[in-house]
Subunit: 357 residues, 2 copies
DNA sequence: CTGTTAGCGCGTTCAG
DNA sequence: CTGAACGCGCTAACAG
């Protein structure tokens, strides 16, 4: 079994040249002047192909000082970032990253830095990974307001790109424009005629949450909504939102529209409304951010704001890959405008207040 | 910037000992007899901690011959395995794998082997990855009936575990028992009183699909359902199933229950029924396999068969990690019984045939 | 155009 | 218990 992998020397011996010659042919960046004679070149390539030679990546990495791998580091807050249903968007990011990096021949490593034992700090694990030459660059997602990772990466000098709007000058970041997400969500509803809106936003500990908050409040101010724009960012699960909406229903003058952070929340809200005998969008409109592509398949009727996760992740991959390849990137950051996709959970508000209550 | 990483020699010099001594203390497996004096040991540990030394993983891998990384290799058939909505379960697998491997201090590498250019073969890319010393072991998912990967891995001698029921003797495999999935889906409906069932299964090119097929037909035979058990495995997307069910509705004697491969298909079927004026489960019952945990959040009313993706992936990780750590594993394979979770899309069949048609 | 030589940073013998 | 020396497989600088 375990057929011994052959090495550079083996094929060099076979061809009758020196190892360096083989190395030059197989992995050498063609420098100016430095060439190998076509004859031996062909011979080497042929033998390498025949013998099915595969260079040892570890040896290459050690010698070259780079690993041809980039790491994805997700949230450090949840202890199960990938199995946490709140982080569903990470799956889209992983998929698009892997796919795009593959085009560059770069591998994707999932960097887990959650503490294993109590007393262990996530930051330490993170620095450990970054210092261990495991990857040439990092993609950071789920960036929080007080995130320590960018600073650590800059100190170490490891290239990185943040998925999440830039919160410092010059940080390479790619994301959907979350300020616009917030702004457009509110103003779309306003445009439909809604003058009383409830927003259930993601936490402002996240950069994205903070940006959406800015967009939301900005829209509220420009449109003069005042206290008729109700804002919360403490309800995130389906259940939380269900409860929050149900409670709100017991208070007077319920808003005519709801703006949620993701599909799950939207369903929580819709269910609370339905359980209270209200219908969507006749009594209350619902708009939500699109967190999961999968959701669109089963809920095509939801009016959503497309967060373009895949495009964002692809762009992040390209940015980082370009940087590693030495391509000078002009724009270190890129913001995608969100795309509002109207469907059947939004409509004009009811003329009269709904009965009872 | 880019603080130069320190190496073994640096801290050896600082302490005033030889590099080997440091190596022994920091990464040495404590052999019998071979010890380092407690004094220098402490000193070394202290200095290493103070200076924040992190060993170079590439050098370690090269010297030791193992990388402390395992690779996940998904389907080779789709060119975008991770962004393909049909492969949603892969996300659950990734999450659970990353989490469980992290407990062992093992990293997860996403191995992409889809061909980049036409003329490139996925198998070649796969062998390339396996031969390049990128990882110590592999997890294979989306195993097809004629999959070439297990054989290739065995030839190379790389440890691996298959997520998917074993299709050869002795292949290390972990999965939900798909035969039982098929069997229980049908017999549960039968138990409710259904004597005419339509099944929309995953393709039989997949091992899992083949196994489910066996379970389905076995149940059909045991229960004497004959041609009243209608089987198809050519409709997989929501649209496909919608179309298939709609067409079937135009033919006489529609089944009283439907058994689908995943939630998306279930929604396709439900929609077709609703569009035809039928209701679930009054007119037709629906049971589906649970492919995505996320779905349960928004569709708690669906009667599902829990495929236990996370447990399966965790077990796969443990199996492989144990093997790499040299622990002798008794059971190379493990099958989880599926868990049927009744909800509100199943019920007894209607007494009379539904009107019209 | 090609061979020689010296690392890359660490693990692991083997003497002492 | 410790130091010296070699090897992991490959790249790169320097001669020729």
């Amino acid at each position: 079994m375990a057929a011994k992998n052959l090495k550079l020397a083996d094929i060099a011996e076979r061809v009758g040249v020196n190892r360096s010659e083989v190395s030059r042919v197989l992995s050498g960046v063609r420098r100016q002047g430095r060439t190998v004679s076509p004859a031996t070149r062909e011979h080497i390539l042929e033998v390498a192909r025949d013998l099915k030679y595969y260079p040892d990546k570890n040896a290459q990495s050690l010698a070259k000082g780079c690993t041809n791998t980039i790491g994805l580091m997700m949230s450090m807050t949840g202890d199960r970032p990938l199995t946490d249903s709140l982080a569903e968007h990470n799956h889209e990011i992983i998929g698009a990253l892997a796919y795009t990096l593959h085009e560059y021949g770069i591998h994707l490593l999932l960097a887990q830095c959650a503490p294993k034992h109590s007393g262990e700090r996530a930051v330490d694990n993170m620095v450990h990974i970054m210092r261990s030459q495991l990857c040439d660059g990092m993609v950071l997602s789920d960036i929080t307001v007080d995130d320590e990772r960018p600073a650590a990466l800059e100190e170490i000098g490891l290239p990185f790109v943040v998925i999440g709007s830039p919160h410092g000058i010059g940080l390479p970041a790619v994301d959907v424009d979350n300020v616009r997400v917030g702004y457009e969500g509110v103003s779309y509803l306003y445009g439909l005629g809604h003058r009383h809106i409830a927003v259930y936003n993601i936490g402002r500990n996240l950069i994205s949450g903070q940006n959406r908050f800015h967009g939301i409040t900005q829209a509220g101010e420009e449109l003069g909504m005042g206290r008729r724009l109700e804002y919360r960012d403490d309800a995130h699960s389906q259940m939380d939102v269900y409860t929050a909406v149900t409670q709100r229903l017991n208070e007077p003058s319920f808003p005519t529209a709801i703006f949620t952070e993701d599909e799950t929340s939207a369903f929580g809200a819709e269910r609370a409304l339905r359980d209270a005998g209200l219908s969507v969008p006749k009594d209350v409109s619902i708009i939500t951010c699109m967190n999961s592509r999968l959701m669109r398949l089963i809920a095509p009727r939801l009016t959503t704001i497309n967060l373009r996760h895949e495009e964002v992740a692809s762009a992040a991959a390209r940015l980082l890959a370009g940087q590693l390849r030495g391509v000078q990137i002009e724009k270190r950051s890129k913001l995608f405008p969100p795309v509002l996709e109207p469907a059947r959970t939004t409509g004009p508000p009811r003329k009269r207040r709904f009965p009872g209550r």
